[in-house]
């Protein structure tokens, strides 16, 4: 559309150059009719336009000839550290996130603000009944703004242009939020449920020692979901290389999907290639994974999406790489007459699959820090966590939310028991941890080639 306006601008500018009336009309003299311009003959206007265009082009060329011409950063970021020099946390290399003098936590013993509390969250990732119970308890309203991708959310949060109180990032994004002083340090005096209810593994997690900035929220594993009625003989547990399941699905071309998430999709392919370091920055390994995914697109007419909770129940897709909680959500989208028994989920928990947890953080730009802390505490209550799970489908690492308890409570159908995690499984899982900037660029380049089917 900007070119339409550019054309209008050119016409307007030329209006300034055009005489208001012919001179002969002013002087009263009789004019001999001018010879009509022949096609291709250069008019004064045409000459002026061409000359100015040529001058502009010459000037631009001269200007650009002196410009730098490189795609290598002039100050490359360190390969083994994240933003602000924060070390890249790994389960076997835990990190204590830095505190800054100009970004301090709140004092203890303060009264909660009047609100409203502003939350920035995934769609349908908190039970509305918990929102209402919080509002009743503290007399403040809660307003939720949604995002559809974590990249979009982090971009908005780091832009500094928003004033949310609470957000739900992943631990791979936490260093950027800390270095950018976007998140506020927590005062754990307001969040007693962290020590009281949360699994010991995550009260002092490897990515945020001392829980200085975050508390854990929903957990998920990355596995395979499928329609058992369409694929009755399919069992990834019996495959030598379950990660290869999608490449073997050539007989159900057009019915296969993977997560539209560069970390999860490429990590899956890395694991299928025998690479267990799902946080590698090696371009050769990552590009090979990208090439394999591109091959898969042609093999099975692969779709990318994060709405497998919709496409699997509808039958649009039969086999999908999934986040575990999506299959609990899927039961709400089954057509009439289709049983929940038709859905299956499996993840390679015994062979080192990928699992992770989301975080709850309070934001420095928020105007209700005390209320934000109390909201985090509210969500970490054991009973509230179970109630939250009944809506979101994503289990929280909180006492009373273990897989057996959820199956016993009728919240998880037995055929989808694998969607829930134990603390041991979470401890042993592989994680998609923070990357250095250069490694993140390599992953994104590989992903862009996959999405271009190049």
């Amino acid at each position: 559309m900007s070119f339409v306006y550019l054309d209008v601008m050119i016409e307007m500018v030329l209006l300034f150059a055009k005489p208001s009336k012919p001179r002969h009309e002013a002087s009263g003299e009789v004019m001999v009719p001018a010879k009509p311009h022949r096609r291709g003959e250069l008019t004064r206007r045409g000459f002026l336009s061409a000359a100015s265009g040529a001058a502009l082009g010459l000037a631009a060329g001269g200007l650009l000839s002196g410009c730098a011409d490189t795609t290598t950063p002039e100050s490359p970021a360190p390969v083994d550290a994240g933003p602000g020099g924060i070390p890249l946390a790994r389960p076997d290399q835990p990190v204590t996130l830095p505190l800054y003098d100009d970004n301090t936590g709140i004092e203890s013993g303060l009264q909660p603000e009047a609100g409203p509390l502003l939350m920035y969250n995934w769609i349908d990732y908190v039970n509305p009944t918990l929102i209402k119970s919080f509002e009743r308890k503290y007399g403040a309203t809660v307003k939720i703004t949604h995002f559809t991708s974590i990249d979009e959310a982090i971009s908005k949060l780091t832009s500094g242009s928003v004033e949310f109180d609470v957000a739900v990032p992943g631990f791979a994004d936490l260093p950027r939020l800390v270095a950018g002083k976007v998140v506020r340090p927590l005062n754990l005096d307001y969040i007693p449920n962290l020590k009281a209810n949360v699994w010991p593994l995550l009260t002092d997690p490897w990515y945020d020692r001392g829980s200085r900035y975050s508390v854990p929220y929903g957990m998920l594993s990355t596995g395979i979901s499928w329609r058992a009625d369409k694929l009755p003989d399919f069992d990834p547990a019996k495959l030598d290389n379950p990660y290869d399941a999608f490449w073997q699905a050539t007989d159900i071309k057009g019915k296969v999907g993977m997560l539209d998430d560069q970390r999860d999709a490429l990590a899956w392919t890395l694991l299928g290639n025998g690479v267990r370091d799902v946080n590698t920055g090696d371009p050769a390994l990552i590009n090979k994974a990208g090439d394999d995914l591109t091959e898969l697109i042609g093999l099975v007419n692969l779709k990318f999406g994060v709405n497998d909770w919709e496409t699997l129940p509808s039958g649009a897709l039969w086999l999908h790489q999934s986040w575990s909680g999506n299959m609990i959500l899927a039961k709400n989208y089954l057509p009439k007459g289709t049983s929940i028994d038709t859905l299956r989920y499996w993840w390679p928990s015994e062979k080192g699959g990928v699992a992770k947890n989301d975080l709850l953080v309070t934001l420095r730009g928020g105007k209700n820090p005390v209320l934000a802390h109390l909201f985090l505490n509210h969500l970490l209550d054991s009973a509230n966590a179970v109630e939250n799970f009944s809506f979101t489908g994503f289990q929280q690492p909180v006492r009373g939310s273990e897989p057996d308890a959820l199956v016993k409570a009728g919240l998880v159908p037995p055929n989808l028991r694998d969607t829930s995690l134990t603390e041991v499984q979470l401890r042993n899982a592989l994680v998609t941890a923070p990357l250095s900037q250069s490694a993140a660029a390599v992953w994104q380049d590989a992903w862009s080639k996959v999405k271009a089917a190049a």
């Binding site: 307007m12 490189t70 971009s155 900037q437 996959v450």
Partner: protein, 294 residues
């Protein structure tokens, strides 16, 4: 009453200032981002001073957009889909505009209203409606099953045709309205003159109506081609397959996350360069038409 030249210039100045602010400034900001760098929080740091521009990402984007380059499949898809959708807009939209302008008498206003009504629903909702219609158990397949076609096509299976049809459906009102306006303004006396001089209805159309409607036809083409080129959500909703990925999808991938927003900006510049060729033709063609009319 004669107005001085400064009267018209004063009248046009606020509009010029507005366009300068909201077209030139954002375009310069785009170039500054494409020639700038990224900080450690993945935020773009634009290079506002041309002396500090780094054209490497722009050069790389152009190199990747030509045949054999990494983005060539998306550029090729974009050119093909936009070309096909534009052709469909012309084939379907021109006769509709012609009928409304030339033959719909009492129903003219109603027909124009019917074309405008879809605008009352957001583009996203209209595309989501198509997803529902085209899904495996959607109404389209139910109708096909009722007439005996039990193996209907996989409409949402990542094929170009549904994307092209969705683009056509989404943008055809933008084409019909300016063409209708142009056809409606054609002096009927000119058509009568053609008939009086012995032209058949077809010759009258080809030699009188069509040439006179060329400016509005070009305007309609511009109004659908420009937004189609940057469209990314139609493919996302209707296809979700990288095989039908368009240039807008690549731009979104870089601009909405990750540490390479300058690459996304460079791709937008590639898109603008392609569109500049089309716009140049439009400007030259309309200038010639205006000169001929004068």
């Amino acid at each position: 009453m004669m107005y001085s030249r400064w009267y018209w210039r004063a009248l046009v100045s606020p509009g010029l200032a507005w366009l300068g602010l909201f077209v030139l400034v954002p375009t310069y900001a785009l170039v500054a981002v494409a020639t700038g760098r990224i900080d450690e929080l993945y935020r773009p740091i634009p290079a506002w001073n041309p002396a500090k521009w780094n054209v490497g990402f722009i050069r790389e984007a152009f190199a990747a957009a030509v045949p054999g380059g990494a983005y060539w499949p998306t550029v090729r898809n974009t050119l093909l889909y936009v070309g096909a959708a534009l052709t469909l807009c012309i084939v379907i939209g021109y006769p509709v505009a012609y009928y409304i302008a030339r033959h719909a008498r009492r129903t003219k206003a109603l027909l124009v209203l019917l074309i405008v009504i879809p605008f009352w629903v957001s583009y996203l909702m209209r595309m989501l409606a198509w997803v529902g219609l085209l899904s495996p158990d959607g109404y389209v397949n139910q109708v096909l099953a009722a007439v005996g076609i039990t193996q209907p096509p996989d409409w949402l299976g990542g094929y170009p045709l549904p994307v092209i049809l969705a683009l056509t459906y989404g943008y055809i009102p933008f084409f019909i309205l300016p063409v209708y306006a142009g056809l409606d303004r054609i002096d009927r006396n000119l058509l009568d003159a053609g008939r009086d001089l012995g032209a058949s209805p077809l010759r009258n159309f080809l030699h009188v109506t069509l040439p006179l409607s060329r400016p509005s036809l070009l305007a309609g083409c511009v109004l659908v081609v420009l937004p189609m080129f940057g469209d990314y959500y139609t493919n996302e909703l209707i296809s979700r397959s990288p095989r039908t990925s368009m240039l807008g999808n690549q731009v979104t991938l870089f601009m909405l996350g990750g540490p390479q927003k300058n690459r996304g900006a460079a791709l937008v510049i590639v898109m603008m360069a392609i569109l500049l060729l089309a716009m140049t033709y439009y400007v030259v063609a309309t200038a010639r038409d205006r000169a001929r009319a004068a």
